[in-house]
């Protein structure tokens, strides 16, 4: 799960990380009111999850009331298109108005989960304000890392080394930077983050250390113990079909092709997409029905797949383990009765209760159903029908 920048700023501020004064607004009038309260130069920023806001013109430095009003009106009235959004762009519903900082130097600071070391790692760099992946590719030595002990967390000497790597020698500034890092680590641990990033962290010309942009991703598996995050979640940024699938305990991800996929298990679901592509087709979605799927859940899966107008054919690939083939067969029959199949549905079933499933499908005699003997056969059949 992701949250918006203004929400990330709130979490950082609560953890004692200084941020520039800010406000979240939803209309140009609220934006100008915020400008009036702050006085001086402000920055207006679109609150969307996609990156590339600056280049797209959705981050604007404004010095007057009129500028703020115009910038807010533009951002709320247009869809933002960037490298990360695709050509259709994303709608903007919320803006951040923040006091502009007088920047002397920009830094990078983040905590992420390091999978291979199996612990969180704190990363800092003097090259702030640019994408860290870019820095990592161009000049990996410019990133300094300290790994956190799984049980003990950030130690004093580690914070000192990180601050030293940032080149902050002034005693007060070094202290302030260490406080920022401790706050960032606290947020990471307290809220079960997978990423907590301040970019840039800045030093102002008066020597203050401030966070002026923040990004956070959270571990979906930990949301059950994070009520505050659940409240922060902005569903308007989610694909509505993905939200609907989640409610039915299905994992669905919309893609651009025209062959709908219904599979059990994430690895097999990915492999099914792969084999479709290999035979010249394009998957319309990733869909994992999971292990303990009910007939109703599987029927909902068919509804979701068939609601996508791009879908010209469906591949059902089930290797029954915990999930039972006959449950899927019953769902297929229910879906055929309820929505009716207007496209060919290639079905490959193997594993638990497969004999009963085949019998059920045979008796139902659904004309659009095409049985397949194995994975390759299934991919060939669905691609032949669609491509």
């Amino acid at each position: 799960m992701k949250i918006h920048e203004y929400q990330a700023r709130e979490l950082l501020a609560q953890a004692g990380v200084p941020v520039t004064p800010f406000e979240m607004v939803t209309t140009p009038e609220q934006a100008t009111a915020a400008f009036d309260r702050f006085g001086g130069t402000v920055v207006v920023k679109a609150q969307v999850f996609a990156g590339g806001r600056g280049k797209a013109g959705f981050v604007k430095l404004c010095e007057s009331r009129q500028e703020v009003h115009d910038a807010a009106g533009f951002m709320l009235g247009n869809r933002m298109v960037s490298k990360q959004t695709g050509p259709e762009g994303v709608g903007v519903h919320r803006l951040l108005v923040a006091v502009a900082a007088d920047i002397d130097a920009e830094y990078y600071a983040a905590v992420v989960l390091d999978r291979s070391q199996r612990c969180p790692v704190v990363m800092v760099s003097r090259e702030g304000g640019v994408e860290i992946e870019e820095v990592a590719a161009r000049n990996p030595d410019a990133i300094f890392k300290q790994w956190l002990h799984p049980h003990l967390g950030l130690q004093g000497f580690q914070a000192a080394r990180l601050v030293h790597a940032l080149g902050l020698e002034d005693k007060e500034q070094a202290k302030a930077a260490a406080r920022v890092l401790r706050g960032l680590v606290d947020v990471f641990v307290k809220y079960d983050c997978s990423l907590a990033e301040i970019n840039p962290l800045v030093r102002t010309s008066s020597g203050e250390i401030l966070a002026i942009d923040a990004k956070m991703n959270f571990d979906d598996s930990a949301l059950f113990r994070q009520p505050q995050l659940r409240e922060m979640h902005d569903e308007s940024e989610d694909n509505p079909m993905e939200v609907r699938a989640r409610k039915a305990d299905l994992t669905y991800i919309a893609l651009n092709g025209n062959i709908g996929c219904l599979v059990n298990g994430a690895g097999l679901a990915m492999a099914t997409m792969d084999i479709i592509k290999l035979h010249g087709g394009e998957p319309a979605n990733f869909l994992d029905v999971g292990g303990s799927v009910s007939q109703e859940g599987a029927t909902e899966a068919f509804r979701i797949i068939l609601a996508d107008p791009k879908v010209k054919g469906v591949l059902v690939n089930i290797f029954g383990g915990i999930a039972k083939c006959d449950t899927i067969a019953e769902a297929l029959i229910a879906a055929a009765r309820e929505i009716g199949f207007k496209v060919p549905v290639v079905v490959r079933l193997e594993g638990t209760n497969v004999e009963r499933a085949r019998q059920l499908l045979k008796e139902a005699a659904i004309p659009q159903l095409i049985p397949a003997s194995d994975l390759t056969d299934a991919a060939q059949k669905v691609c032949a029908k669609v491509v």
Binding site: A266, I275, G351, T352
Partner: protein, 320 residues
């Protein structure tokens, strides 16, 4: 509990010094017909169902753990204990199989390690990653190995099934013959690979699902070593997927330390970046973890990469 204390008090679990753990010449890896299993969460819906399947397959499930139900018996007739320590002391269980809900699963794994089991098989899906960070370190310090979480478990066909995989799709090694060892980050895709072997009359020595989470226990490298040492194993299948760099590291290891033929497959060649493809660990981020990078690394290490998930068995047959 230290090793010394365990020896002194006679609390040494049976498998701790078992030959399979010692990395000597073995038949199958990690688990076999002598393995004694304690099942945490045996009275829950999933735990009860799968424990029954394991017992039916021939696995020795010697104890169950459900706090508050100690002294009773499960529906399968397995004695229930209030805590893992009681179960290990009373039965000599050396492997724990865990079906505890996500919020309590990491704690259950640590309890099992503290009770002295040598191997923890953690089936539960959806455990917070930071819980696993802490638990994995705890298990390492206790000297207990971990399989999972979010995994199908481990099976030595014909001897011992600890997990949720359908038993009948596997083919036990016949007397005097040999087989393939399978390591996989996926559940059902493993079944697919197993089935493709079985339908070609290729037996499996042991199949291990290492799980789809970002922080886990045994990884490709440790298992590649165990299969390399296992006399019965002729070849190894490793099934990876997008996300992280485990496969790249494993490929490097294969190049220098594995002499047996290895067949590989990487799922997620068509997955878009930035999207979590079902498994918590299956996400391409910051240009890292793509299928292309993994496949290139595997090929460079001389691993036979199946182009299609439908050709894993065929690729293996061609190298045997």
């Amino acid at each position: 509990m230290t090793q010394e204390f365990r020896l002194r008090t006679g609390l040494q679990p049976a498998g701790r010094l078992g030959r399979a753990i010692q990395g000597q010449a073995t038949m199958s890896i990690l688990v076999n017909k002598d393995t004694k299993v304690v099942c945490q969460g045996i009275t829950g819906k999933a735990g009860a169902f799968h424990a029954a399947q394991c017992i039916e397959y021939g696995t020795q499930i010697v104890a169950g753990v459900t706090p508050g139900k100690g002294g009773s018996r499960s529906e399968h007739g397995v004695p229930i204990f209030n805590c893992c320590h009681d179960a290990v002391i009373a039965t000599g269980a050396d492997v724990a199989m865990i079906f505890v809900p996500p919020a309590f699963a990491a704690d259950a794994a640590m309890e099992a390690a503290d009770a002295g089991v040598s191997l923890v098989v953690l089936i539960t899906e959806g455990i917070p990653a930071l819980d696993m960070v802490r638990a994995r370190k705890y298990l390492d310090d206790k000297g207990a190995r971990l399989i999972g979480p979010n995994c199908p478990g481990i099976i030595t066909p014909g001897e011992c099934k600890i997990g949720i995989m359908p038993g009948y799709i596997h083919r036990p090694v016949q007397d005097g013959s040999r087989g393939v060892g399978i390591i996989s980050r996926s559940g059902t895709l493993t079944y697919e690979a197993v089935w493709q072997c079985t339908t070609r009359n290729i037996s499996q020595t042991t199949c291990v699902g290492i799980g789809g989470d970002p922080v886990k226990g045994l990884n490709f490298i440790e298992l590649l070593d165990l299969f390399e040492q296992d006399e019965e194993t002729d070849a190894i299948i490793m099934i990876g997927e997008i996300g992280g760099t485990d496969e790249e590291q494993a490929a490097f290891h294969v190049r220098h330390h594995v002499s047996k033929p290895v067949v590989g497959f990487i799922a997620g060649q068509t997955a878009p970046p930035g999207k979590r493809m079902g498994h918590a660990g299956a996400i391409i981020s910051g240009g890292e973890g793509t299928a292309a990078s993994k496949i290139a690394a595997l090929k460079e290490a001389g691993i036979h990469v199946a182009r299609s998930p439908g050709e894993i068995g065929e690729t293996l047959a061609s190298v045997l």
